[in-house]
Amino acid sequence: MVAFRLPANSRIDRSGRVFKAAPGAKDVRTFRIYRFDPESNDNPRIDTFEIDMATCGPMVLDVLIKVKNEIDPTLTFRRSCREGICGSCAMNIDGINTLACTCACSGLGAEVRIYPLPHMPVIKDLVPDLTNFYAQYASIRPWLQTRTPAPPDRERLQSKEEQEKINRPSACILCACCSASCPSYWWNSDRYLGPAALLQAYRWLVDSRDEATGERLDALDDAFRLYRCHTILNCTEACPKDLNPALTIAEIKKMLAEREH
């Protein structure tokens, strides 16, 4: 839905709590973090944490863990692998969707703003509700579909060149940084698949072992699911894995146009 203004109960109270660094701290960096507690009736607020970077790890995730361990244990965020492979800690850092675990504080300004992924319902603090995002992923049937039975004595074979086609799109970790950066996804995520799900749709379209290419394209020949992409390219800009969802969406459009003639 188009919403240029936040609903009244989502507007942010800028006068949140402030946690000063200990006196004598040498390398202080300020973090302004979005907080929302679903159990209170309060609007979201911005809390300010001054962190002595001399006593903290280098990444934004290190800062969040330090805040949770030492300052405010109620701070809520998702994290797991801390090495950019699980996609849990996707959030908006200084206006850019990225992974907190691979985002170095040294590359950011003296004051760092940390928000949840934009235009998603917030469950608590930095945790967005990804239910619809996962439903979209499920809708593209992200599994091998075949009519030919598997060979009895070995796996389904693929040439090296065929494997290389799915190599890159398979590296997507479904962190949702791309989809949550896409204005078209913001306005129409109820019907538009978004770059992440479309990248995965492409991954199965170009899989040489898959035999449902036609059915997959049929499902994508939709004014919203695929064609809400207006090549804004925020997705490619945001991807923390350096993938190119926009290019794969263009490839899907080309496949659909190709089979018309």
Partner: protein, 128 residues
């Protein structure tokens, strides 16, 4: 309140189909409009004067009329396809969306017919 699953909700009424035709038509129109618009501007600017007699004489010549008709039709069609996408992007109230799409489509048809009629009237004016 709905207890529908998230997947069921997203799949909704299913794929619209025919979307690729819309996309191809929009791009074909854009490609056609590049030479047509250039031709239109260059030939207009090359005219010695901009009075009624010169302009209607220019527009009435057979190839000029054919290209003008193509320009009018391509422009109206391309504009309709683009405006349709904008409305679908931004208008989410179902009633308002359908009303806007119907009004805009009819307005584009009306403009196209008016443009075609104007060119034909000039081109065949002497026979009327």
């Amino acid at each position: 309140m709905s207890l529908r699953t998230p997947l069921g909700r997203f799949l909704g009424l299913g794929a619209t189909h025919h979307a690729v035709g819309h996309w191809v038509a929009q791009r074909l129109g854009a490609v056609a409009l590049v030479p047509l618009t250039l031709w239109f501007l260059v030939s207009l600017l090359a005219l010695p004067a901009f009075d009624y007699a010169t302009l209607s004489g220019w527009a009435g010549r057979p190839w000029n009329a054919v290209l003008l008709l193509s320009l009018v039709l391509a422009l109206a069609h391309h504009s309709w396809l683009g405006v349709q996408v904008v409305v679908e992007d931004y208008v989410h109230d179902r009633g308002a969306k359908f009303a806007a799409l119907i009004v805009l489509q009819l307005a584009h048809v009306l403009l196209a017919v008016a443009g075609v009629f104007a060119v034909l009237k000039i081109a065949f004016g002497s026979f009327a």
